[in-house]
């Protein structure tokens, strides 16, 4: 099977790897480079557990062709914290009970980050829209919406990222 070499940046680090033809980015990240933070929930684009940022834009890794990210910069939940300091979204998810089984959490965090990067002062409705492609079966959406709004408020006062 002919493989394609690609290079891209993952959470700020240069990566290169060989991908299989037709391989999706989720599989390439998890099995190829060992970033296990994006999760498999459906491989259909419907659940959002595999959400990552590609050049700052929210995408679903399961329906992104791996070789299409060559030259791009990819961000996952594994790259959210600043060294040992958690991102305010991570802290807020912890403090506001926004995760139970935690399987949807990395995708939710990425969707939330995509929102706050664009709009630091979201209304509740904006948050609802921003996570509308992410399903959570345990926690319910209220604590998650709450956590994102609180993180946004915190980041506005602290002026972090």
């Amino acid at each position: 099977m002919a493989k394609t070499p690609i290079a891209f940046s993952l959470n700020g680090m240069e990566r290169s790897m060989f991908v299989d033809p037709g391989q999706n980015l989720l599989d390439a990240l998890r099995r190829g480079v060992g970033d296990l933070s994006p999760k498999y929930g459906c491989a259909q684009g419907t659940c959002g557990t595999c959400s990552v940022l590609v050049d700052g834009k929210l995408q679903l890794a399961c329906i992104t062709l791996a070789e299409a990210v060559a030259g791009s910069s990819v961000t996952t939940t594994a790259g959210l914290a600043d060294g040992s300091e958690l991102h305010p979204l991570q802290r807020s998810f912890m403090d506001n009970f926004a995760a139970q089984c935690g399987y949807c959490t990395p995708g939710m965090l990425m969707a939330a980050k995509a929102l706050l990067d664009r709009n630091p002062s979201p209304q509740r409705q904006d948050v609802v829209e921003a996570i509308s492609g992410n399903l959570c079966r345990c926690t319910g959406y209220e604590p998650i919406i709450d956590a994102i709004l609180k993180a946004a408020a915190f980041m506005r006062t602290r002026g972090r990222p």
Partner: protein, 595 residues
């Protein structure tokens, strides 16, 4: 967080001082892993040379397998192994065999006849998931479609297709005698005759898929010590381990199960299919093998909460009291038993809901149909029938022109009332719940209802077990011979009347305990607990001795004569184990104490 109030005034005498955890938020211990994406779900273990397993599945609801040709698939690029029914050492199982309940009825890979759409008949192990999928598509299967049945009532008709060869009557068999689980308490027929009006309702629930965000899956990895490690999404690690050991006919000591971080389960991850499949793959290939359902499989073959149908008949007197209630319940088990047989027992123990009704009868069926097998989901056995009961209560309130909350409070059980399964009600709180709900919803209730309490008005007359009519209708096989009505006491035949105060019909061992130590905490004074083999049963040694452990009277285990068998059916000598006059069911509800 959603706000909630903690009503300390209720059950205050059950607590010693303040509660330290309840009512206070606690940060989960695994939360750091969740927010950093580092919690280790089963699929977060990487293995070099991992192989992928996928199944060939039935496209039909019901069909005979005429022929299977996998010669092309076996030759395809990347294919390491085709796994067939003959590769499964013990290819027939029922999940609750681990507690000795039910007959083996479900193959891991089906050899001859499929009974639901998506049933697996063959598996392919290949080097990549894509190769496994391609090989699965290349398997040629010739099917002979059979008539199917998808409705529980249809399945009980005499000429309904036989779904599950182990149970040719299309029902689970209770105590080797009846095709349903019975409950008899008092005399419902007499109750209906005396009632002012009869209110009937029928309630249907669809299957519900648990839909965890992580689909079911497992990775099995040969270890160097002749063991197989299995990383799994299971909700029931040891249950899955034992099931795997049994199906693969291997010592459980050779299985090293790793789990605990589950991406949502809700009952849908106890069926223990992915574990034996992946372990079998690893045994046959000597390599790490992953067997994971994709989302379509999770939805199609992942066992849901089963469909239920409940028919309820109430007799209500002129004051609005329910004097008799009968149930005909159907659990759609799908093609195989899984856990529905147990859901039926659980539901029966719950009847007639949190109400004191002097005459109760129920026939509850665990029915096989050509639908996806059903399994556990959040309160299964209870949730569906509670929905039906509460809809029926609203219907009763309308029929009697009563405020629905007043109607509930009037009929609510109270501490000390005898319940239909012959235990005294304790720690009841329906009345208080109704009062609080009425307040919150600004729903006006009668002054009478306001002053009621669960602690008053119970017991006395209502503590007695009434004279009870029992019957023998619905013997296994009856429904194959003729169309037998399903409602309690409707099929005719011999009836008997047990005198007032009889706590049970005769003892039945629903599921004999496998090991004597499972009965460990029985007090020696309980004659029923004295072991046949002459060994004394030791209390499990956890924590301090009982004397210092409790500072209030230790709940007394009910004496043998108080302990009813939920099923009021005659005993039969067990062929498996010496008959023990104890039901495992009673262990769940022990701790009952007269107040």
């Amino acid at each position: 967080m959603t706000s909630f109030e903690f009503r300390r005034e209720f059950f205050a005498d059950e607590r010693q001082g303040q509660l330290n955890e309840i009512g206070k938020p606690t940060i989960r211990q695994d939360i750091l892993g969740h927010v950093t994406g580092r919690s280790p779900y089963y699929d977060d273990h990487l293995f070099d040379g991992l192989l992928h397993m996928r199944c060939v599945r039935s496209p039909h609801h019901h069909a005979r397998i005429v022929s299977v040709d996998f010669s092309e698939a076996a030759r395809m690029e990347g294919v390491r192994r085709v796994v067939g029914p003959d590769d499964v050492p013990k290819n027939l199982n029922t999940l609750l065999s681990l507690i000795g309940f039910g007959k083996e009825d479900e193959p891991l890979l089906t050899p001859s006849k499929v009974a639901y759409r998506g049933e697996p008949i063959l598996a392919i192990v290949a080097e990549s998931e894509r190769q496994a999928r391609a090989a699965v598509q290349a398997v040629r299967v010739e099917w002979e479609e059979l008539p199917h049945v998808l409705d529980v009532e249809e399945a009980l008709k005499p000429n309904a297709p036989v779904v599950n060869a182990t149970y040719p009557g299309n029902t689970f068999e209770y105590y080797d005698k009846y095709d349903h689980q019975k409950l008899r308490f008092g005399d419902v027929e007499q109750g209906f005759a005396k009632a002012d009006q009869i209110v009937e309702g029928s309630y249907r629930m669809s299957p519900i898929e648990q839909a965890p965000m992580e689909t079911c899956g497992a990775i099995a990895v040969p270890e160097t010590n002749d063991r197989i490690a299995c990383y799994t999404s299971t909700q029931a690690l040891f249950f899955s381990l034992a099931t795997t050991a049994k199906l693969l006919d291997m010592s459980s000591a050779r299985l090293h199960f790793v789990g605990g971080t589950v991406g949502g389960g809700f009952g849908g991850k106890v069926d223990s299919i992915v574990e034996p499949m992946s372990v079998l793959g690893a045994l046959l290939t000597g390599a790490p093998v992953k067997f994971m359902w994709d989302r379509e499989e999770e939805m199609q073959v992942g066992a849901p909460r089963g469909a239920e149908l409940w028919k309820i008949k109430d007799g209500i007197d002129s004051r609005g009291r329910i004097v008799a209630r009968s149930f005909t319940g159907y659990f759609d088990s799908g093609a195989y038993t899984r856990l529905s047989s147990y859901a039926v027992v659980k539901a029966t123990g719950h009847l007639p809901g949190p109400y004191s009704i002097p005459n109760v009868a129920s026939n509850v069926f665990c029915v096989f149909t050509n639908r996806t097998p059903a399994t556990a989901m959040r309160g299964f056995g209870i949730t569906g029938v509670d929905f039906a009961i509460e809809c029926q209560m609203d219907r009763g309130a309308r029929a009697t022109n009563m405020n629905p909350i007043d109607f509930r409070i009037l009929n609510a059980y109270r501490d000390g009332d005898m319940k239909a399964h012959r235990r005294l009600a304790k720690n009841t709180a329906l009345i208080e719940c109704c009062q609080v709900v009425a307040d919150k919803a600004r729903w006006i209730i009668g002054s009478q209802s306001r002053t009621q309490s669960s602690l008053r008005g119970g017991g006395g007359e209502k503590a007695h077990v009434p004279a009870t009519v029992i019957d023998e209708e619905g013997r296994i096989g009856d429904r194959r011979r003729s169309d037998v009505p399903t409602a309690p006491h409707s099929a005719g035949g011999r009836k008997r009347r047990l005198p007032e105060g009889s706590l049970r019909g005769e003892d039945v061992v629903a599921a004999p305990p496998q090991n004597p130590d499972m009965l460990g905490d029985a007090p020696a004074s309980d004659p029923a607990a004295s072991p046949e083999n002459g060994r004394t049963l030791a209390r499990p040694r956890f924590g301090p001795p009982a004397e210092v452990q409790v500072d209030r009277p230790r709940p007394r285990r009910p004496q043998a004569r108080e302990r009813p068998a939920i099923p009021a059916a005659p005993a039969r000598p067990s062929t498996r184990r010496p008959l023990r006059r104890r039901t495992s069911v009673s262990r769940h509800v022990s701790g009952f104490r007269r107040r």
